[in-house]
């Protein structure tokens, strides 16, 4: 298993980039990643102020978690300036919204590489992720995911995506079913993580949990959240239960024992254990170990 896959990104929490009170408290909610947003959360007239504030926050405040910045798209008048001001502060990740081509990623990759050299950061130390928010972007998802070794995750931006599909979001999420699955396939084929969209209704815990369970079953690694209350809920869904951990330990023990006996067939509780089951058990335990850290 690649080490990168063990990086927990169960809850990636957006924080508006021009709000000092929220930026300085961003670390207290236990999110695996905080995403400082200088895109949709910031008015056009305040883009300069937000990127400066985010730069200072990353440089001066200590965060107990991964710090990402959602920049404006580089085709807007703001994206390149965002990178110019924010990269010297060394965020852990740059998140590109509305990614549509691998070329977008390659351009940013190059800019990050130049900044790393200029400011003396280790080459490759600033990662990237991209949000797919259009049908065109989804058609190019694998190309986007593999355009740079910096890429650690693909995310789906649900609201924009369903608008592009000319539909709207339902509570069950059928309109996103194919897109989520396709995005996951692209991410897995590229060996990176898949992160689900935000659930906009902060007062609908039941809906949030149902959606989070669904995307976990689909194979997603985490979810973007906008409300601190959703952090813990998302993390609980993604954290293996005691029962799952015990079962994984028993699977691995039975497998090991069979190997020692040089027995070709392994069974546990009457069920055959083969390679995918062993791999899944190893994944559960690696995940549990990462959670305990």
């Amino acid at each position: 298993m690649k080490m990168e896959q063990l990086k927990l990104r169960r809850a990636m929490m957006f924080m508006p980039g021009n709000n000092p009170a929220m930026l300085q408290n961003a670390g207290i909610y236990g999110a695996d990643t905080v995403i400082f947003d200088v895109e949709d959360a910031v008015a056009v007239s305040e883009k300069d102020a937000a990127r400066q504030l985010v730069h200072n926050a990353i440089k001066r405040l200590q965060y107990p978690c991964e710090v990402a910045v959602r920049i404006n798209h580089i085709q807007t008048p703001f994206g390149l300036d965002d990178l110019k001001v924010i990269l010297p502060a060394k965020p852990d990740l740059i998140r590109l919204p509305k990614a549509e081509t691998g070329q977008d990623i390659k351009i940013i990759d190059e800019i990050i590489g130049e900044a790393e050299a200029k400011y003396g950061f280790a080459a490759g130390s600033i990662g990237m992720m991209a949000a797919i928010e259009t049908a065109k972007g989804l058609m190019h998802a694998y190309e986007i995911a593999t355009a740079s070794p910096r890429m650690v995750a693909l995310a789906i931006g649900g609201e924009d995506f369903v608008a592009d599909l000319k539909t709207s979001r339902s509570r069950e999420g059928w309109e996103l079913f194919v897109a989520r699955s396709q995005l996951l396939l692209a991410a897995r084929a590229a060996g990176i993580q898949a992160i689900d969209s935000v659930f906009a209704n902060a007062n609908d815990d039941e809906g949030f949990l149902a959606e989070t369970r669904l995307i976990k079953e689909l194979g997603f690694d985490g979810k973007s959240v906008i409300n601190p209350r959703q952090v813990r809920m998302a993390q609980e869904v993604f954290t293996p239960s005691e029962k799952e951990i015990k079962n994984a330990e028993r699977v691995l023990a039975a497998y090991k024992e069979a190997l020692e006996r040089k027995s070709g067939v392994v069974a546990l509780d009457g069920k055959m254990i083969d390679t995918p089951i062993v791999t899944r058990a190893e994944r559960v335990l690696a995940y549990a170990a990462a959670v305990r850290k």
Partner: protein
């Protein structure tokens, strides 16, 4: 606003923020800092220091600064000052 004196604002009056107006003045006018803060007694001198530090770092010796502080930390004061200066000199 007279010729050669450009004025710009950055920040807000929300809690933990600071609203700063920077007006670049004629050479020789010096620095004038007008600060309003709920924590004037404890932190007034420190806030002034941060404001002066950013002006100096930007090579500005002549300016009038009005700052209405709402409990901003240093990183915010510095960011708002930098943005106000960038806007005043036309970089914003």
């Amino acid at each position: 606003m007279s010729e050669g004196r450009r004025e710009a604002q950055a920040g807000t009056l929300e809690s933990a923020d600071i609203l700063i107006t920077v007006a670049l003045t004629e050479p020789g006018a010096g620095l004038q800092i007008d600060l309003v803060s709920p924590t004037m007694k404890q932190y007034g001198a420190m806030i002034r220091q941060v404001i002066e530090k950013v002006l100096t770092a930007n090579g500005i010796a002549d300016a009038m600064v009005h700052a209405n502080d709402k409990g901003a930390l240093d990183y915010t004061i510095e960011a708002r000052m930098q943005t106000a200066i960038d806007r005043a000199v036309g970089k914003g």
